[in-house]
Each structure stands twice: as C-alpha cells, then as structure tokens.
Symmetry: none
Subunit: 157 residues, 2 copies
DNA sequence: CCCTATCCATAATT
DNA sequence: AATTATGGATAGGG
C-alpha cells in the first residue's frame, strides 16, 4: 500500500518531541479513510467467502469509538463459536500436540527480534504461524471429536 | 524455494484470469487460491490495524478442511470478547506474551505443551497469535524501509 | 493429500 | 502509468 500516513512511525528527533504527530492530523479525514479501508476489507472478505460454500469467515472491527462492525459467513457467531471451540468440561486432556518444538528452528527463543533481519523475521513469523496453527488445530480437533462428527475422512485418533 | 533451474521448456503463466465467480474449480486449485486470498486478506488487515492503532480487529477463517486461521489486533480473543459483550475476557486474557524477548512472560516457553489442558492450550494459542502479529508488523516495517531507492517519492521520510 | 511459496502475466485498483 | 492482487502452473515440505 501507499503510505497514506507517511511519517507515522518515524522518530527523527532525539526524544524531546516524543510523538503524537501521528493520528491527530485530522480526525475527520481519519474517519473517512477508516470507513474506506474498512469497506475495502469487508469487500475482500465478501469475495473470499464466496470462494467456496464452507468458507466460514468472520471479521470484527471496532472503531476508535468502540462501535462494532462485522461481517460473517454464514454469520459471526457461528464462526467465532467454531473458533473458540467448546471450552466447557475438558476431561483429562492428554493431548499429544506432536513435536511442536520441532528441531529445525528451536533456537529462536533465545534471540531478540530486534536483531533479526528481514529474512529471519519472515521465517520467524512463519514458524510462529505454524506453531499457532498446530495448537489451533488441536483445539479444533478436540472440539470436533466432542461434538458430532461431520464425517470427515480419517477418523484417526 | 528458489527456482533450481529453468528448463528449456518455459511454461508461461496465463496471467490472472478474468473474474470468474464460479466457486469450485478443482479441489487443489481451490486450496491454493484459498491460501493466496487468505494472505491477501490478512495483509490488508495488517495494514489496516497498522493504520488505526485503536481500531481493534479480528478475522477468523476456516480452510476448506476446517483448519482455523486467524488474525487479530491486538488479539482475537480480546476483540471477540469486546464484540460479544466482555464477559470472561479477563479469564482468557490474563497473559500477554507480546514482548518476545522479555523476561517477565517467558513462562510458556519453558513448559511442555503436553502438560497443558484444554484451557491452557486456548491461552497459548492466543499468545502465539499475538506474537505472530507482532512479528508480522516488524516484517512489514522492515519491508517498507528495505525496498527503497527508486525515484518515487513518499515511501517514508 | 494438504498447504505454502514463487514465477510469470495480467486483471483490478489507485 | 504505476502498483497491487490474483490466477495458473509448479516445486517442495509434511
């Protein structure tokens, strides 16, 4: 994207001025762009959910004034519910999450993100994403096995 | 990931096709498309939340195989809780591992996922998500300041 | 099979 | 016109 907000995060001074020349500019124009981008995002989401029938998706945006805007297919609550999963009654969870700390990239935790260059950051991000998805999948699995089975193939344990 | 070698037979892509609204082409290409569009959507969302710090945002999507993917600012659970009515948010969100290399909240890295129960896994998932988003933002920062040097104005400054 | 990334070309958007 | 987002093909990892 273009830099709609050119100098938002740059600190050129020594610290005297500290910041704040950020989002103040023009409250009204900020709101306008906010609406535009929000609509753009929802539009994308709309196209996305049209990709395939089961493309459940939900977007929730809270405006700076805490006014909620949302888009969901089939609806927000359904998706949120699927995402959060059934959190009640967790009988002995002896979940085996596999090797979440796989060998390949284990040394990340000992480093500072500030010291990583672009490539490394990208890898780190990917790793985190994978990690999160692994956990998320476990949660989902757990939930699925507790609710009725939508008859997937591969009912391994 | 790089092209190992270019065979004599160059297969040129056909380029982006004309907006077809059809839903399922073939399972495999659907999956690829899903991945691409999801990245596009999340990227937009990232830019969005980058622009409006105080506009909380959450996106949840389920892949064709019901695998959950999400993006959240500051994190999904916070936004969902705000949306649903702020109920047990404090219970789910009492931990913030946002600062990757900080000492305070390193607790999770020292634990085994196998020892976590269902609720803890949920928390862990949220934390990872926050972490990932933070890193994602860093990546974007780097990306912006890295592609430079072409005579187009406005990049940063 | 499932998923991600990359190259090329082009549609879509700015 | 310039930039971005995306489709098709394809390589590679799991």
């Amino acid at each position: 994207m273009q830099e709609t907000e050119v100098n938002t995060t740059r600190r050129w001074g020594t610290g005297r001025k500290k910041v704040e020349m950020k989002k103040i500019e023009s409250k009204s124009s900020l709101i306008v762009t906010f609406c535009k981008r929000r609509n753009g995002l929802f539009k994308k989401a709309s196209e996305f959910s049209n990709l395939y029938d089961d493309a459940n998706l939900a977007i929730i945006v809270l405006s700076p004034n805490q006014r909620p805007y949302s888009f969901g297919h089939p609806d927000v609550n359904t998706v949120v519910d699927q995402y959060l999963g059934d959190q009640e009654s967790s009988e002995r969870n002896n979940m085996d999450c596999g090797n979440i700390n796989e060998e390949g990239e284990a040394c990340w935790w000992e480093r500072s993100v500030e010291d990583m260059d672009f490539k490394e950051l990208e890898k780190f991000k990917a790793s985190l994403e994978t990690l999160k998805n692994n956990v998320a999948m476990k949660v989902q699995e757990k939930r699925r096995t507790r609710v009725s089975t939508r008859d997937f193939m591969g009912g391994f344990s």
